[in-house]
Symmetry: C2
């Protein structure tokens, strides 16, 4: 199975030599992909029983789920290993499949919400279905058909992610810590996504004195907890981690998650198009209400505030307007504040990691993942 090349696959630098961790992680990736294929093969039979014409719904899920960086599955795996779970343990593989399917479901629906036409280098799911509509010269509104099919594909993927999680068996049964974390993760990320779309429509002028607080809260629930903290904790809980270890995991993972997303926010405005693969300043055109923007709005001059308020979310922003916004954000001090926050969170994460009560192999693996998360350029 091919993977998108990504920072998560980073090789250790010479001298670090956590060779075993790297090898084991590669073996886990392979096992994860094989298990995902097996799981989806069974589902394909269920859809075939309904009608072969329904299989493309699963096909869209499959195409998306087989790609990706596997960040959540890997964190879940090292959370499991750090808590004493056995190498390539089946529960950690299947839970990884569940987390990756949940992420795919979230992406399918996110792309409808954000009107994104591409994902992982291919058409997004709604675009895939509207393309099918166009190619087959079907009737009625192809765009609406695309969104509708993608809503259903996301629903199917969401149901399958839970089916996979339940199939972990007793360690993920009702009343286990792992199940409670999985449930909380889902509810929190959906609430966070709602806050995110709400933030966009209330507009940049809404209670500006609370803009940073709101943006950091969205970042925490929509991204940091969901992408980093919960996967690590779920893996740990599956292996029977106690309260103390889980609390230490959070002290490492939450600041790491915040730094990870703040880095993403900076890249979305200041990233190099050649490295990110997205147009310069893409987040500005999309009108993303990030922590970076919130700082600029709260710390910037009247003129900066006005420039942002007038231009953020305009799909037709040209390169000059993007450059001017970048300068305004930088001069407001928001970039420096955000970079300082990234540095602070990163330090917190690495300090906690240094004394985390896990074996050295797990520590090396988490170090590599953490390093990749906060220093990436794409």
């Amino acid at each position: 199975m091919s993977q998108a090349p990504a920072a998560w696959e980073a090789n250790p630098e010479p001298g670090q030599a956590p060779g075993d961790a790297v090898q084991e992680q590669a073996a886990y990736r392979q096992a994860l992909s094989a298990d995902l294929e097996q799981f989806l093969d069974f589902q394909r039979e269920v859809l075939e029983d309904v009608s072969s014409e329904s299989v493309p719904l699963l096909g869209a899920v499959h195409s998306l789920a087989k790609g990706g960086k596997r960040l959540r599955a890997l964190l879940n795996y090292w959370g499991w290993r750090g808590a004493g779970g056995d190498a390539l343990g089946a529960p950690a593989i299947r839970a990884g499949v569940a987390l990756e399917l949940f992420q795919s479901a979230a992406l399918i629906h996110d792309d409808i919400i954000d009107r994104s036409d591409t994902r992982r280098g291919a058409p997004s799911v709604h675009r895939h279905f509207s393309n099918r509509h166009a190619e087959a010269e079907w009737f009625l509104d192809g765009q609406h058909f695309g969104s509708s099919a993608a809503i259903l594909a996301g629903d199917l993927c969401l149901a399958l992610s839970e089916e996979a999680f339940t199939s972990v068996g007793e360690r993920a049964a009702y009343n286990t810590r792992a199940r409670a974390l999985f449930n909380r993760m889902r509810t929190e990320v959906m609430a966070g996504q709602y806050l995110d779309i709400l933030e966009e429509v209330v507009g940049p002028g809404h209670e500006p004195e609370r803009a940073v607080v709101r943006a950091r809260n969205i970042l925490r629930y929509k991204s940091a907890k969901y992408s980093i903290e919960h996967p690590l904790a779920i893996g740990g809980a599956l292996a029977g981690a106690g309260n103390e270890l889980l609390a230490a995991y959070s002290q490492f993972a939450l600041p790491l998650g915040e730094a990870f997303q703040l880095r993403d926010d900076v890249l979305g405005v200041f990233g190099d198009p050649e490295l990110t693969g997205k147009p310069a300043g893409d987040d500005l055109r999309e009108g993303k209400r990030t922590v970076l923007i919130a700082y600029a709005l709260s710390a910037g001059s009247e003129a900066v505030r006005k420039e942002i308020t007038d231009n953020l979310g305009r799909p037709d922003l040209d390169d000059d307007a993007v450059a001017s916004l970048r300068t305004a954000i930088e001069e407001s001090g928001a970039l420096a504040t955000t970079e300082a926050l990234i540095a602070e969170h990163t330090e917190q994460a690495f300090t906690t990691l240094a004394s985390l009560a896990v074996d050295e192999q797990t520590r090396s693996a988490l170090e590599l993942l953490a390093h990749a998360a906060v220093t990436r350029t794409a």
Copy 2:
């Protein structure tokens, strides 16, 4: 908790006297509503922890889920009772909550797909959120905000339905029959919904010789199995029903489900607006590709086929055009064929029910539900 008045609440006719079943069903309804409230109260706390501004997402789910006819929960209950489950048993109550939440999730996303502005006498969820947008005079596209929020509300509701089902405990754990049925139900209904939207876009001229087969397949998976067969079977499985009883349940429930949905199809074209609460011929304007329509297309004359092909799905159909389509459908013989199919399925269902290996109270209750399902006028 107020319920929409519905056929499901039908009192027994004099002479039938299944008084105990009616009383017990009323007690179950009450317990179901109380349990739903308790379940959602807990969820509200999770959202409050994220931010009080995220609570409206759950509010939308709550408003929808507290209404409805409770058909699926009731079938699950009598499936449970018929298999020896105890009166008002907690597993059957919580499983009912799960089924009703699943149905709410399906409705929230269906209404986006069907562009329906009302549901259960109130604005549909996407309309509710676009109304909030308009009232608050928020920025950007209010309609897109409404759909986006409804996608997230449906996702939350879907996740919660599974959380509720898992909380049934051991009887619904991994590797139980009930869990396998719940999983299959979800996948099948999503596949059925996809086939349904596909059928609309491929157009009325697509492989007309297979139109009836396709329409009956969609009806089976999207409606008959989902609304009738699976809920009854899940209740039975939770109470430990064996293969024989579950097979007998299906022999009763599947034809009943088909008759139930065929009745719905007939009402959507020939129903009395005063009774259905929808405009006359609403399904014709919406372009629904029902079994009734498939019969008309396959059995009708060239002129009938052309009239249907030209007019089905036109939102601007006036009363005369609706009346003309009704006549064409009736004269093609499609109405008579559909009514004959309803009668045949109904007879199959009642024949099976008469010898079903359940206690008399359960039989009475299922008789009432079945009777209401196939003779309703709204």
